[in-house]
Subunit: 514 residues, 2 copies
């Protein structure tokens, strides 16, 4: 078999079920190998940032990596921001990067670049299959490596000659490393610290945010610990019937006020919290002065198991109550994020998936849906906006029978608007809500918080994305997404209700205050 066939078959053997692709000439043999491999669904993306964001969304829902097909270093760069986001989500991803044939590299043809160098920093594993013999073996290694134990994106470079030559061999079963277990001694230390603390808190992420993890977290809450998540995380199971942990506030001053009096901070499945950005004269580390800290493991650890060990050690047998189902009344009047949150809570079906890249409009929707039907909520993890639509695409491919709701700012949505095209092509059941305020609203807030001075006309212009206003209905319909604009809460509610009843891609432009 060719090297391309060996690579693709090895990944399929190990369970890879989707390839988000933007191929070029150097990947043609991979394209025909994928044609022969029916176990992998190939999804064409018109921009690599869509492919990598979709692979992330797929993995968050499927619990296993998708592969991407990227065209040399330039293709990797186009996909790079959402690879960064995936790295920060700790989701596994296998980026297959086509390269020039090995003997062709030395001629430094126009598309040549130092792929190893530029892809290295955001790859937790990177190798180049410079001989056809190793294509299968490295595919198997890449699959295993993407699971970490701190999971993340891996890069497998495939030179064109390694793809087209005969002599490839399948790589066999990947040795997927298990997540680490928190040592018993650490649990004991945590137990002792809790006994001494007046106001203990446990900060959680990773597998602590799964259904099982949250059941354990509810036990800890019942035993007197405050349970808080990171501000942003890969996915949480939430809604009616689920324990709702607190969420770390985004702005450092708010977070610090909220944490006041906390004298013990345990962390499980994450690291000590830091402010998203630095500001003049404000702290970076979001830990109160004098607060004791203790790590029970990071993203390499099975934190659901950690929480269970700790809850058992504490004899925590009175779990905090889960959230009850609460469907709000129909919102009326001005359309804003809170009104959107009400409509989403009213109409979102059970087991929906939310992809959240709504930036400054996200929090009211998140807060408003705490008592909605049980669902999964995925977030932007790495701060590189433009992840929401691709993530929704990938989630919809992973779970074609579940309703996916994508929240995106208008600024964020423009980065990867090409995702809409793939949603139509694949018939994805995604409802996109674009918060249209014609501005990078978060930056107007941040401009003042950073003390950068009073903005003059140029500065204001740099943060405003009106002039021209973007007509999202026209944009979405240009690639065949049925779309509507809503200017009042009533209009939005009707449009969203209709979208929840209708399968297939759909977009609602929610015209909200700037």
């Amino acid at each position: 078999m060719t090297g391309a066939d060996a690579l693709v078959a090895t990944l399929a053997d190990n369970g890879v079920g989707a390839c988000f692709a933007n191929p070029g000439t150097s990947e043609m043999h991979l394209v025909t190998a994928l044609d022969r491999e029916t176990r992998i669904k190939s999804v064409l993306c018109l921009f690599e940032g869509v492919a990598t964001g979709a692979a992330d969304g797929y993995a968050r829902i499927a619990g296993k990596p998708a592969m991407t097909l990227l065209h040399l270093g330039a293709g990797y760069l186009n996909g790079g921001a959402n690879i960064h986001n995936a790295k920060r989500a700790y989701t596994p991803m296998i980026n297959v990067i086509g390269d020039h044939a090995v003997p062709h590299r030395k001629y430094d043809a126009p598309l040549n670049s130092d792929i190893m160098g530029l892809a290295g920093p955001n790859s937790i594993w990177i190798k180049s299959a410079d001989s056809v013999k190793v294509t299968g073996k490295l595919a198997s290694e890449a699959y295993a490596a993407s699971f970490g134990p701190e999971p993340g994106p891996v890069s497998l470079i495939l030179p064109a000659d390694s793809a087209w030559e005969e002599g490839g061999e399948k790589g066999g079963e990947a040795k997927v490393p298990p997540l680490r277990q928190t040592p018993a001694a650490k649990i004991e230390a945590a137990k002792g610290a809790i006994a001494r603390a007046k106001s203990p808190l446990i900060l959680i992420n990773g597998t602590a945010l799964t259904e099982e993890g949250l059941q354990q977290a509810a036990r800890l809450k019942g035993a007197g610990l405050r349970v808080m998540t990171d501000t942003f995380y890969w996915k949480i199971r939430r809604g009616a019937g689920h324990f709702a942990p607190d969420r770390m506030q985004y702005f450092a001053e708010g977070a610090m006020a909220d944490l006041e009096g906390t004298d013990l901070m345990l962390v499980a499945g994450t690291s000590l919290p830091a402010a998203f950005f630095a500001y003049p004269g404000k702290p970076s580390l979001l830990v109160p002065e004098g607060c004791e800290t203790l790590s029970l493991g990071g993203h390499d650890t099975d934190s659901a198991a950690t929480l269970k060990m700790l809850a058992d050690a504490l004899d925590a047998n009175a779990p905090a109550d889960p959230v009850s189902l609460r469907k709000p009344d129909m919102p009326t009047g001005e359309l804003n994020a809170a009104a959107v949150g009400k409509s989403v809570a009213r109409h979102m079906p059970e087991n929906a998936i939310v992809s959240d890249d709504g930036v400054s409009n996200s929090l009211p929707v998140f807060a408003g849906t705490q008592g909605a039907e049980p669902h999964d909520w995925m977030m932007l993890t790495g701060g590189a906006i433009g992840q929401g639509l691709p993530l929704a695409l990938g989630a919809a491919v992973a779970a074609p029978d579940r309703k996916v709701i994508a929240l995106t700012g208008d600024g964020a949505g423009m980065y990867t608007n090409q995702a809409l095209w793939s949603m139509v092509r694949e018939g994805c059941d995604v409802t996109v809500i674009v918060f249209v305020n014609h501005t990078y609203r978060i930056l107007n807030i941040e401009l003042h918080r950073t003390g950068a001075g009073n903005p003059g006309p140029t500065a204001k212009d740099m943060l405003a994305i009106g002039e021209p206003d973007i007509d999202w209905v026209s944009l979405a319909e240009s690639v065949g997404v049925p779309s509507t604009a809503a200017t009042t809460a009533e209009e939005f509610d009707a449009a969203f209700e209709e979208a929840m009843k209708t399968p297939g891609p759909r977009l609602i432009a929610a015209l909200v205050p700037g």
Copy 2:
């Protein structure tokens, strides 16, 4: 002054006149510094690949670098593919990458990444201004470094605290390195080799493609040398009144057939030609067997001067004739790239600028406009499609009084469709021609050339961008670009004639065969 003010003022002092920006929180002090610096025009881009492509287009027309404003490593990655293209165009560019404040880095906040590592490979110079004191000095260094002498993109990382702190100092005049001169001994060697050769050829790029360079190239042609350019290059001055060199063919087999019999290949302003991609059993280096080769300098060399030295040495005083003005008749019938070429040749005004990212439809337009009014033609240099619209945006900002024509494939145009928004915002006089064939047509050609086998349904799907078809008129009008679709040569001719008479952005969707 703050570090941000020192950086911006230093670049303005040295002549930087434009900033293509996609800022975030860590760049807020740069945004307000730009607000205060009236010598730099700030242009907001909704995606960083637009910003970097525009900076490239600006530099190719203005002859000096623009700056970009990018948001940490993720912003750099989004701009990375067009930085790769700029590196391959050998145009100067100053990428200012905002970073976390230095003391904040160690907390590894979500947007943190190894900027030095990921930006290094495509930066010809990269430094981080880790103290406010060095902001101006490094800005001056960065400006100079972008000129090479092999020009290209440089990266200046600016941590937020270096931007916001007081104590910045302007960096003074940049010591711009001059292009190198070809040593006289090499000219003598070339003269001797030409005398011995039966069929000598000189391959040119760089400054050899300027007005002055082409006048010298015409002298060489008159003296019996075949004059040929690289397949792709940064810019050429062409049209009526200009000497038209041959162009290296794209496909290796065509190029080799064309070069048959060539027994001497001189190169000036470039390197020995290599095939764009490798193909099984086909050569990589496009030099006939036994052909003598001699380099008179690469992109670091003033090749216009090189050609003059060589022409003087050869006493070449009978230059080849320049092209005469030839305006074709109105095309009729089927709309295809040849018909588009005729319309462009008929109506393009004097001194227009063409940005060519038309992929498989480019060559007929290029060939058809050889006798058009004199103009500048800019090409995709690094093979990463999605450069054409940004390049046109930057050229239009550099030369607001010149008509800019952007040729783009539909696949290529989707990568950076956000450029249309900036064109409207800036009132750019750009006419965009999108070749709409609903396919990555070049890949259908390449699939067969690489011998990847007969494509099955999945493979065909990976190369077809119909289903859904993209409605470019609706897409362009969603951001306010007046647009029209043309399905016949007559319709296109009328639409293009109208566009040439009307200032401002405009888009024509040319529905051509797939």
